[in-house]
């Protein structure tokens, strides 16, 4: 493993987005930050800013209004990046599969790298999911993506 891969493995900055979840999985993600689970042991911090994040944790079945927000957040994250769908409803819609306003899973909107099961997903499972995702992240080529011009960036910002 070269240095860059190692650094990626050891420094996952997390962005958490709630795409219409019931909060069950969200509070479990928060639990991951707290002393008993302490995901910072793996270098993970919750950055709250898509531009700084490497890992997008999404909970919830994605509804018709936050679909666009989710897509924008994903766009704003710089490569390489991974998406982790946390919880059953983020994976497939789960119990909200017949709700009219739900799209039924994150993978309907953006590509998902890791699915974390559970309703609510337990903190241990979430940590495992992030680690599993990092293995994928480390191997990703650092493919150059043309930086957005500031005009484009503004447009995205305005839509947000």
């Amino acid at each position: 493993m070269n240095l860059i891969q190692k650094a990626r493995m050891k420094s996952p900055w997390i962005l958490h987005f709630n795409a219409g979840s019931c909060n069950g999985c969200d509070i479990e993600i928060l639990s991951c930050l707290t002393p008993v689970y302490d995901i910072e042991r793996f270098g993970a911090v919750n950055v709250g800013n898509p531009k700084h994040a490497d890992v997008l944790l999404v909970t919830g079945p994605v509804n018709r209004r936050n679909e666009r927000v989710l897509r924008n957040l994903y766009e704003q994250m710089l490569d390489p990046k991974i998406v982790v769908a946390v919880g059953t409803c983020a994976s497939s819609g789960g119990v909200f599969h017949n709700c009219y306003n739900c799209l039924g899973g994150v993978d309907k909107v953006i590509p998902v790298d890791v699915y974390v099961p559970g309703c609510a997903a337990k903190p241990e499972t979430i940590i495992e999911g992030v680690i599993l995702g990092l293995e994928k992240l480390a191997k990703m080529p650092a493919k150059p993506r043309p930086g957005r011009t500031s005009a484009e960036a503004e447009k995205v910002e305005a839509e947000r």
Binding site: V36, H97, V114, P117
Partner: protein, 123 residues
Amino acid sequence: MARMLRSVLRNALSKPATRPFPEAPRAEFEKARGLITFDCTDCRFCGACALKCPTGAIRVVREERRIYFEPFKCIVCGACLEACRFGSVRMGPERRKPVYEKPVEVYAKPETEAEPKPPDPGA
């Protein structure tokens, strides 16, 4: 602030509350709702589990005598367990692990029991 100072200093001096997670995972609680699996030995493919499932995670195809189960739809509520009168649904405390691709699990009767049993008239 003084009270909090005591509290943080105590933390600094004692062992961290962190569980050594991936290295030494804690045993699951005995009654934890974890993995749903099927044991089709006695299954009649009646579909009661599928009907009661609030998420549509189970698909019972009678003609094929198979159960298609999508664990990433399942919320481990246990409704199928309560619905099955033949004890074919199992729930264990183990935690399901994260994956790259969502699987569909297929359960069928063990080969020896290939001959379909007649439906239970009493039901």
